[in-house]
Symmetry: C2
Subunit: 111 residues, 2 copies
């Protein structure tokens, strides 16, 4: 079952937390950047050439990124093609700004 919710522009609280955790690790973040730089068809083996980590670690990080919804991965024979979900990235940053930028406009009797 695919996770691609076709251009969703809203994130659940759980997905927001997952994305935050996924982006926290510098190695994983760099991996995400590499996937983004590669374009559409990006095999893990290609990525692995750029990072001094074992393939098990790559697989682990890719799984985390997919779980967070930050990338979309699909097998093509031996290869696993990864692609960054730009819409999810945009939704995450928007939610981040919304959560920290909004004053208590709701007037929810904070005191």
């Amino acid at each position: 079952m695919k996770r691609r919710s076709s251009s969703r522009s809203h994130l659940t609280a759980q997905q927001f937390a997952l994305i935050g955790k996924a982006l926290a690790d510098p190695r994983r973040m760099a991996l995400l950047e590499a996937i983004a730089a590669e374009g559409e068809g990006c095999a893990c083996a290609r990525i692995r050439e750029q990072f001094p980590v074992s393939k098990a670690t790559i697989s682990h990080h890719v799984k985390e990124l997919v779980h967070a919804g930050l990338i979309d991965a699909q097998r093509d024979g031996q290869f696993l093609h990864c692609e960054v979900r730009r819409d999810v990235m945009a939704a995450y940053t928007a939610e981040l700004l919304r959560r920290t930028g909004a004053r208590r406009g709701s007037g929810a009797a904070a005191g």
Copy 2:
């Protein structure tokens, strides 16, 4: 020594990593949201009423947020007033999008 670099719109690699880690923990993220919702003068004690954690934990998280540059904290007598750095938040989200949104414009070795 204040960390406020007066409307900086660029983040160092280190600060980017620090912010990512700071935002990763759901509790700390919620704390940041609470600080943002409180407005300018936000004492830790006020925040503590909203979270079932010890004051030591609050202090720890606040320190992390300050270290990451996400909030600005200054003592006022007994109280520690915290304020969200909206500019840093904006810079972080912008950097996040820049790192994941840019294609390989250089067209380097497509094969």
